[in-house]
Symmetry: none
Subunit: 195 residues, 4 copies
DNA sequence: GATGAATGAGTGTTCATTCAT
DNA sequence: CATGAATGAACACTCATTCAT
């Protein structure tokens, strides 16, 4: 996953995100994308091996943006629960903004990519959150009997899913605040010592 | 979602599940499916509006099968946690058996279907589990301060995701038993009163 | 061209005229027609050998209707020019009412039918008008140096074409009355002795 | 109607005229055409929006060829009747050479094209002949009481129809010379002052 | 690097037609 | 006569990809 960021690469990637948001991956043609990006048909293939190669690239782009923001805001968080709040809030925000492209990314495996690709994309996020959990364990902010690796992955997935459920599945039973709060409490109960 | 179960419909659906399991949706042609099903090309379109219409149909088929089994086994469960165990166990089993088709279904929204379709498919499962949760609340088996609707949806999603993570994401850090146990404890801590 | 007029035959033919008027021949499927006619798919083939067989059938239907009316009204015409006026008027009327189907019929040969079919359809019209012309010659109402057969065919074609030009080609330069009058004078000048 | 004449465009168009002449439009597949033209399947769609888009393109091609020749030969014509003779002769020739494709073109409206398309194709022919008629009026070669626009259109149509009737409808009653002569006299009587 | 004309394999879908009931 | 489920051949069209410039 080389993030060779040239001007054209970015143009194409952003155009792809836009067009796919509007039409869905299937109905989006390379022709649509290059037209929007303002480059030639062949130029696409200077930056992406194939149409399908877009999906992980988009995912990486969005996920690293999102992680960036989370890390930034988490700097000011003094305890684990504040960090958790930041993660939830930021994940909901990203999901709201990119909901149409995110269904692609969250379900990337529905497109025949090697797991390695996706592991690689999520690794920085997983690693960072494992670290957060480990520190929380040390500080007795969360219970000790956790498989940290499993918990990190599962929680990240759960948060993404809850957001997806809210924005895309359009739960009509709860408000945004209620959804986030319910999720927060759900996780807190599971992780934080009763007293 | 009319479950008009004619002989041909079933033949085609089962053939589709088989072929898609082997080749993935993209690389599966209608021709592949009808050949396997032993019907004519045009017959497919008597039962499915389009190729994409297969996805919700498959999802409904698998989910209702799975729910059937869960309900059956849950009959013998005396308390909430036993029921939870059954759900987890059965979800992992289904995911194992149909992993390649399930990525399609779990990520159904990546294909341009109306949410209504998916809501309708999941509704029986959601409804059943809401009922289970409500009874558990009554019996003080789980905490009272739950938004039952939200919790039902989220838990079902979480269990599916954990199974997907294990089988498809191929977690290498935990065994099957560990994964299920970790999940069980995670949910138990969040739902069951401390003592 | 057997005009075996059964109830279903008529239903199907009328339905065909309606649907083809709306969607054009190409985009009209047998399925559309039988649905409109309220009969079963297979029933169509009890009355028509194929989809293409509809075109001459429609043509015959419309042309014989039109000829019927012309003959009826021509009975009261005392001279050749009155008869000509009736032909023009009635042809314009039919063209107006069935313009969308008539393009099919007027250009029937664009569909691979044997000329014999079309000759047969037009024969009664040609024959009747030849007779009219012959009588007019006898009565010195038209010039003598005419090839009657050629003139009959050509005039019928010309009248149909002028009507088509007016209604379908949507001439914007003349009114309905002007178009008919211009045509009438055009033919009169060519056929009627100067004094 | 952009006559972007690139090499490939011409190759495809000529191939289409040939194949359609042999098999008719319906039974001609794009595959037939591109094989004959020696280009790839997809190349067809770089130059024609669809299969049906061939029809006006062919019509324009043939009509402009025909008009070219008429204009050329008409240069030497000293009076209106000579010009008329040229038109008739050339129209019969074109109809003879391209009879199978011309039925398509003469009946273009049977294919769902906008009238504008056909108006545009015929416009140069109409315009040229209107001019011819106007000059003839000035020179007292034809009668004054003509609606020139209507007459131009109608005469062009009539000539085309007479030729079609002769070659395609296979009149068996007259020879080529007789048919042309009959037509010429028919028009002459209608247009030229008696003395 | 950038272009965009050309490629041609690949496939979903339609629909006229048949035939067992 | 009537039905309508089943057929399966046939095809227009798309589009990811390449490559000469």
């Amino acid at each position: 996953m080389v993030t060779s960021t040239s001007e054209k690469y970015d143009k194409i990637l952003q155009a792809a995100i836009e067009v796919i948001s509007e039409k869905g991956l299937d109905k989006t043609s390379i022709s649509d994308i290059v037209k929007r990006a303002g480059v030639a048909q062949g130029t696409f293939y200077l930056y992406f091996r194939s149409k399908n190669a877009l999906v992980p690239a988009i995912a990486e782009n969005l996920l690293s943006l999102s992680l960036e923001k989370i890390k930034e805001r988490a700097k000011t968080a003094t305890d684990f629960l504040s960090t958790l709040e930041v993660m939830i809030d930021e994940t909901y925000k990203t999901t709201d903004e990119y909901r149409d492209v995110l269904v692609l990314c969250y379900s990337g495996l529905a497109f025949d990519y090697s797991l390695e690709t996706w592991e690689a994309i999520y690794l920085p996020y997983y690693n960072w959150f494992e670290q957060v959990l480990n520190e929380a364990v040390k500080k007795d902010e969360v219970i000790k009997q956790l498989n940290v690796k499993w918990t990190a992955k599962t929680m990240i997935n759960l948060i993404e899913n809850a957001a997806e459920l809210f924005y895309i599945g359009r739960e009509q039973d709860v408000t945004l605040e209620q959804s986030k709060e319910e999720l927060f409490q759900f996780l807190k109960r599971s992780l934080v010592p009763s007293m």
